[in-house]
Symmetry: C2
Subunit: 327 residues, 2 copies
């Protein structure tokens, strides 16, 4: 492959096997990768049990080629999935990637996407273990991430207990703010647009939380209140978010002023940031985490989420098959 040279331009010209060879060229070798790409499967050394999570990203649903470059799309695909492994309290180790695209997709674009995948793998400290490439009408990326618990118990979503403290690592509302400005045709503030394109996952904090004794944890993919709703119902508790403890970053205030959308709404309901939220026994919130609320007994209306002690009247999440519907 010689960029700018006379090599094949489209995937149909390059072919599947040459594409794969380019995508995995000179992959770094980690000690825990016993077999890497090129065989029927990859083999990963793990400490007794393995955490696995999968996500599918579809063009036009999870990304748009006019909003994000291929490198950003590749990075996002890895980031959102590794965040799920972090949210189980595991140490992420590797990913496998399924890639489908039309035959007239440009090779250059595809290799830039592969570079993004590999770049985010390096940032997250995981190995690209293998994958599958095939034709499809839309660019679709399916990433499966694996990690080890290093002998610890997984941090599930059903372990929050009354008296626990609620804390967050990472940003909230930034990706939604970025989406808001992009949908209105703007490209700034750059900081929130960047986070919409590639979430700023707090890598390593999942295991930090687990070691600190987190009783429950999730990553924020659908929105803080929506995802905490899963935790509250699974744990049979009330989770009360205290808005005075939520950081509303300066770019969120800028977006709020420009769009007349309350930035607090972005923080409470915006998805795709892939921050980690966890509950901890009092006094166990580790460095790098910010307390934003508390866990109480389920109220008379059952388990659920409160905002400053009251039910939230807004719209907490997103349904992929009913983009207009809210749950």
């Amino acid at each position: 492959m010689s960029p700018g040279g006379t090599g094949p331009t489209t995937l149909a010209q390059l072919g599947e096997f040459a594409l794969i060879a380019e995508m995995v060229r000179d992959l770094p070798a980690a000690d825990d990768v016993l077999v890497g790409p090129g065989d029927d499967g990859a083999v990963l050394a793990v400490g007794g049990s393995v955490v696995v999570s999968t996500d599918v990203l579809v063009e036009g649903v999870h990304f748009r080629r006019d909003w994000s470059g291929p490198g950003e799309i590749g990075r996002k695909a890895v980031a959102v999935n590794v965040a799920d492994v972090e949210a189980m309290g595991a140490r992420p180790q590797g990913v496998v990637v399924g890639f489908s695209a039309p035959g007239d997709t440009e090779v250059r674009w595809t290799l830039d996407l592969a570079t993004g995948l590999r770049s985010e793998c390096a940032t997250a400290g995981v190995s690209l273990l293998g994958g599958d490439t095939t034709r499809g009408q839309q660019v679709t990326l399916s990433v499966t991430a694996l990690g080890t618990l290093d002998g610890r118990d997984p941090v599930r979503r059903d372990g929050a207990r009354p008296g626990d403290v609620l804390a967050v690592a990472g940003r909230l509302g930034w990706a939604a703010a970025g989406l808001l400005v992009l949908t209105r045709g703007f490209r700034s503030p750059r900081a929130v647009v960047d986070v919409q394109r590639v979430p700023d996952v707090p890598y390593g904090q999942g295991a930090v939380a687990a070691r600190a004794g987190a009783t429950s944890m999730v990553d924020v993919s659908d929105g803080l209140l929506a995802d905490l709703g899963h935790v509250a119902r699974a744990s049979g508790v009330t989770i009360d978010v205290e808005t005075s403890l939520l950081e509303i970053g300066e770019p969120l205030q800028t977006v709020g002023s420009a769009t007349r959308v309350d930035p607090l709404l972005l923080v409470l309901t915006g998805g795709e940031d892939h921050a980690l939220v966890a509950t901890f026994p009092v006094g166990r919130v580790p460095a790098g985490w910010t307390t934003i609320g508390a866990v109480d007994d389920a109220g008379p209306d059952g388990a659920g989420v409160l905002v400053d002690g009251s039910p939230f009247a807004g719209v907490p999440g997103f349904d992929h098959f009913r983009p207009g519907a809210r749950r």
Copy 2:
């Protein structure tokens, strides 16, 4: 969900979360599944190292809704991927599934697909660990399978040694024969059409081969000669297939007569059967496996595959981005 009742008919009406709830209802619980669907990730107990493999199946490329029912498509998606884990010599344990489909896809069709996924998981002895569902223009299934080596070394494709015996478990050429008759508008012989729709993977034989001392192994997805080519080149050997040892099943002869295609060509080059082929030291071929050739030193033209001692003149494989091209 009441089939035939007044429930939602399309995925857009049902919604993502109700769909997931239906798809994972009453999943059987295996002892090695520490956390199943519903959290950020699943957790699987493994014996020190885990084999992982991923495959993407796209409507119109890997299956057609007019040729295969939803249950068959679901079963095939699991089977082809678990076959890769078998081919590493591992014991398959679980799968995660990414599913995308248009919003106007029928709920009934989708739940039948989920039933097929679960049915083949049961046949293969693996657990459905989790997944992700989203909208997309085409029905796309991405399956990632995991398995444990139970402390054994993986059986790679680079370990074949001169003097080894080549053997197969499972069928060859049947899926290609099924595709041939389907493309010509026929639905019989039923036996080969069935195998095209759902490959008959020799579950359990991967670990059997590993315990017997297999030196290399792959599953036949692209065609026997194409896949053995990978083994020969990775191992630096010549693999000689002896056609008199290949079983040409009765339905293949029927298809051959009807279509004037040499059934031996189907056996040598037909993909999608997901039989296992492995090399063993002499005398170590286990029960359930059939010897079909031998491994020699690389010849003057380098490593490669011979048929009855001579280079094969035909067309050995399939390239997803260049369906007309052959390698």
